[in-house]
Point group: C2
Chain length 473, copies 2
């Protein structure tokens, strides 16, 4: 495999295939998610879905195909998505009277239904979520990051006023940051997008941004406050307590299979994937070693050990493949990012131990007491999860520079992020992008109030705090 330092992009493209996460689909830019990759998605889904439900949202499902005229009702929205649309023109053997769009996102069709379901203040807030596939035509596809079709959840909510809708927008952002940090071990920065980077049709867009191991930023989830833009376009109105008709304030927020790309590029190394235990399809792999009758005894013991680990809530797999050498299996599971490997041979059995090797760290081959294995491994996995978050946080902080002059800025964004003052003018953003390929990633929520002059044009800064710039996926 190409090393990260030589060509990060080749490393990524080779790894996602070799680790059996994905394969190319036959239609341009499409992705087949193989079982190992899909299991990662299911585990992430379960964590996010639970939090979405626990905060009062209900899942629903809206149609894939949207009449073209619906999409046109919110002008900025259609303008933003028009270049990426896939269009069904024929169905049932006939040309359709009106073309149908394969949903690129579902604000319009959900807006239409919200208008039907909301009539009184008592119907609010309306808190919906959908797990679905969406299609956005991609000219430069990259597995998980930009594919013609991807899987995601999209939350869509309607509220009585701006305050309630903004609370929801921030709640969704917090859920995303929590899942990113606690489950995927991604130390994301929460912040607001500058006007030029907003979602098409949104009044405000918030994001969680992660730093990949090549120093680039990846937007890993977004939450939008729509104001009354979609409510106006789709007549989402309610009668207040006084009976007067009011427009709803709506939000939408999404997290997608892109997160898997973020996990790969945040934690992976030249040996392959490194998976956070809370997302790893297998947290522990047991490789039995031996031949003939000795192997039979080892396999029996491996099965028993797996059983005990499962009972402790550990996802474990015994690699029973007989035609592959232990050495091949070690490399294979390293490539596939399994946090902990156990080697179990006749001598280990006799000693009541196994050899334990962690996917990261300098511990090398450690001795694991089989009697205590479940308890020990629960601790090892917790430590491993914490180590990944700490390592990624340190990497991000080491590669984030607070700079005030242009030379230092250009240098910083060539390898990481720059925290700078900016004038807020879109034209100035464009100039910076043309010169350095860097874009404003976000205005961090947690940044301290500060003012200064724009790192590029010298005009007074606009956001009351520093903005993060970086090159992005």
């Amino acid at each position: 495999m190409t090393p990260q330092s030589e060509d990060f992009s080749s490393w990524y493209n080779e790894l996602v295939t070799k680790a059996q996460l994905v394969d190319r689909g036959p239609a341009k830019g499409t992705m087949v998610i193989r079982p190992y990759g899909y299991r990662l998605w299911e585990l992430l889904q379960a964590e996010l879905d639970r939090r979405i439900k626990d905060t009062g949202h209900e899942n629903a499902y809206f149609p894939l195909l949207i009449p073209e005229s619906h999409l046109r009702r919110e002008a900025e929205h259609v303008e933003g998505f028009a270049p990426e649309l896939a269009v069904v023109t024929h169905a049932g053997g006939k040309e359709l009277e009106e073309p149908l769009i394969v949903r690129p996102t579902s604000e319009t069709i959900i807006g239409e239904m919200m208008a039907k379901w909301v009539s009184s203040y008592r119907d609010l807030p309306l808190l919906l979520n959908q797990w679905a596939n969406v299609v956005r035509w991609e000219l430069r596809p990259r597995m998980f990051l930009r594919t013609t079709e991807f899987l995601w959840q999209e939350g869509h909510t309607a509220h009585a006023d701006e305050a309630d809708a903004m609370r929801e927008t921030m709640l969704a952002l917090d859920l995303y940051a929590e899942v990113a940090r606690d489950i995927a071990a991604l130390p994301v920065v929460q912040g607001e997008k500058t006007p030029g980077e907003r979602f098409a049709g949104a009044a405000r867009t918030f994001t969680i941004e992660g730093m990949m191991r090549d120093g680039r930023a990846l937007q890993a989830g977004t939450s939008h406050y729509m104001g009354t833009n979609f409510a106006k376009a789709f007549e989402i109105q309610y009668a207040g307590e006084s009976g007067r008709l009011e427009l709803c304030h709506t939000t939408s927020w999404g997290m997608s299979t892109r997160m898997i790309g973020a996990v790969i590029m945040t934690h992976g190394d030249d040996k392959g994937l490194v998976l956070p235990p809370r997302l790893a399809p297998y947290q522990v792999v047991i490789v039995p070693i031996g031949r003939g009758e000795q192997l039979d005894a080892v396999l029996t013991a491996a099965g028993e050990l797996a059983h005990r680990l499962k009972a402790a809530g550990i996802r474990v797999r015994v690699d029973q493949r007989t035609h592959l050498s232990p050495g091949f299996k070690f490399n294979d599971w390293e490539l596939r990012g399994v946090p902990v490997r156990l080697e179990l041979g006749p001598r280990d059995l006799k000693a009541g131990t196994a050899v334990m090797v962690r996917r990261l760290g300098d511990a090398g081959k450690e001795q694991l007491d089989l009697a205590d294995a479940p308890r020990t491994l629960v601790g090892v996995l917790d430590d491993f999860q914490a180590l990944l978050l700490q390592r990624a946080t340190e990497f991000r902080d080491r590669n984030t520079a607070t700079v005030d002059d242009w030379g230092a800025f250009a240098k910083a964004v060539s390898t990481g992020w720059a925290q700078v003052f900016h004038c807020g003018r879109p034209a100035c953003e464009d100039d910076i992008k043309a010169k350095t390929a860097a874009t404003p990633r976000c205005v961090p929520l947690a940044a301290v109030p500060e003012t200064g002059v724009c790192v590029h044009c010298g005009a007074p800064s606009d956001y009351g705090k520093r903005v993060i710039f970086g090159r992005a996926y």
Copy 2:
């Protein structure tokens, strides 16, 4: 609502909307699944997904869009699906060189990938499953039963030989029958489809058939043995132990949101839905009764009771809506099919009881001791689940006639099913359909070996047992 006896079809169409299961989507034949309907689907999904995984299958995800040429590779398959296809001709602002089909099912795209993934006998069996949406253009849509887009799972497996593939085909059918019977309380008949009713491209098709309360049959899940048809078309081959290349034998099997239609039409009555507890989004609803300070005390007690029921694994909801009368709420939850309603007022509280009303049965208003409520209700829900299955089984048996002459046959299929001998000729099937609208539903696996003469044409019977005929959805 229109009574079932007056117009079953109107009853169904009105109920699915009034119970807030679905709404019409804007594109022809599409369905919006509302939270109450989607929760039913999620609960069914969880039961089926667990069984699919427990039997060694892995979930994966394949692209929605399939190049037209792929679909054409298996001749019978494309012929069967051609009239129902939705076609993407434009994407990314341009006309595509090759149109893309929105998947109506995924044999072709999965076949293509299987060919890439299988090379040796060691790669077999390959046991995949996908949860996805599919699109089949419908001229006469009906919510849940026939919609332009629907949700389903589709299992796709590859095997070394016919025996292993047939074992898999029957395993999937058994899973479906188990979920239908134990979870949805549907006493389905397992059987094989006659050649004229096979899936396009299959060598053998098996089905589970349920009887709806209007006597019609509904195919609630199918499992297909493909022989080597798709293996030939997509070159799914493996090197055997001797090194010789062999064709795989493949299967596919699917269960969809149609199952929700089956639940509605098997258990529902003139008051509305009747949901089996194992699928009910809420198994118990508590309606607090009272005003002012008394209501506050009741609400507190209702919250505590709900907490205790949840701890016992019961899905419970307290109906806290203040602008609706208790009577309105009783009707609403009856309409929505909640198995058990509890009424809790100040007098009940003082007595340490609640009024319990089961959605079905003659018990009327019963007194529930609050101290024992969780344990009692677990039992009541189990009984309710069993009652639904028993009631549906009796209904089916009462409306299934074993007949040998044409007059009795025509009468039987006008209100239910007929078990008859049939010659097996497609032309004779067509004649029967033209005269009575009845089709062969299946050759039941469990039927006793018997021979006789065809109920329609008098020729010798072909299947070695009686066949079930009925009108179908």
